[in-house]
């Protein structure tokens, strides 16, 4: 049975539920526990949301690509999307956030700190700022990213199989 799945997605928020459902089905077909299926689906969800929010889609060929691999001991989710110089601030923030999360011994501490910070912001402030730290805490995943050729951002999350 194939232990990986690749989903090529239009950068449209309505596509997210379909990705969640397909990913969920794929994970369940590998007899993973409910908790693992939920956690990895959450990781995929949050990463694809960011891909759509912060990606730059200048032509219909530009997509968000979600790759999920089930290894012997871990599961890797990679989400790629095009970016350009207008999103470099976001990339810097992404880098800072990932480093900040890594600076905590326990991702739970990072999550609590971010909850406190976000809870004090104005009610109508749209920004969440919780997605990545949620991936680390609930998804128990290690985050990383790099910029591929042609300005393709690759964000990955690796979680151990329990």
């Amino acid at each position: 049975m194939k232990r990986s799945i690749k989903l090529i997605v239009d950068p449209n928020w309505d596509e997210i539920e379909g990705v969640r459902n397909e990913s969920n089905e794929f994970l369940r077909s590998h007899a993973l526990s409910d908790d693992t299926v939920y956690a990895v689906t959450l990781v995929i969800s949050e990463l694809i949301e960011n891909g759509i929010k912060y990606g730059v889609f200048k032509s219909p060929e530009n997509k968000v690509i979600v790759n999920t691999y089930i290894g012997e001991n871990n599961i890797t989710v990679e989400v790629t999307n095009p970016v350009d110089e207008t999103t470099y601030n976001h990339l810097r923030r992404l880098d800072r956030t990932i480093q900040w999360i890594r600076g905590h011994q326990d991702p739970f501490e990072a999550y609590i700190e971010r909850l406190r910070e976000v809870s004090k912001k104005p009610l109508h402030d749209k920004e969440s700022g919780l997605g990545l730290v949620r991936i680390a805490y609930e998804g128990k995943a290690i985050l990383d990213f790099f910029l591929e050729e042609d300005n393709i951002l690759n964000v990955s999350a690796v979680s151990n199989l329990e």
């Binding site: 928020w13 009610l123 919780l130």
Partner: protein, 123 residues
């Protein structure tokens, strides 16, 4: 007598039921909208005002919610932070046996008050 109002946005439904002592806000479906704050915040702010006027407790019941994205958690924690600093009586109820709910909602105990005026309850 119970009064009920239902609010739906995409795949999320919020049912607000008022009884003699409380406003019960039951969340069902999944919340994955890009800006759920636009939908959720006015509902919660309205209930907070009414609960204050009528001296009733607010119960946010998430037990039947299947998933919420991080943008959904945001208005909820802002309301809890304001409740903690103010006088609103508010209770968050979640299903402890669901690991994801336990992870998200137990963390909200940082907003709990000593007198349980703001309370986070895993059932």
């Amino acid at each position: 007598m119970e009064k009920a109002e239902t609010f739906t946005s995409s795949l999320l439904t919020i049912e607000v039921k008022e009884n003699e002592t409380s406003f019960n806000i039951r969340w069902t479906g999944i919340s994955i909208e890009r800006e759920p704050t636009r939908f959720i915040t006015p509902v919660l702010v309205d209930v907070i005002k009414k609960s204050s006027d009528r001296n009733k407790r607010i119960i946010l019941d998430f037990r039947e919610l299947a998933y919420m994205n991080s943008s959904t958690i945001t208005p909820v924690i802002k309301i809890l932070e304001r409740a903690k600093r103010g006088e609103t009586q508010i209770e968050v109820v979640y299903q402890k046996s669901l690991k994801w709910q336990d992870l998200i909602f137990s963390a909200l105990e940082i907003f709990q008050t000593n007198d349980r005026r703001v309370e986070i309850k895993g059932l």
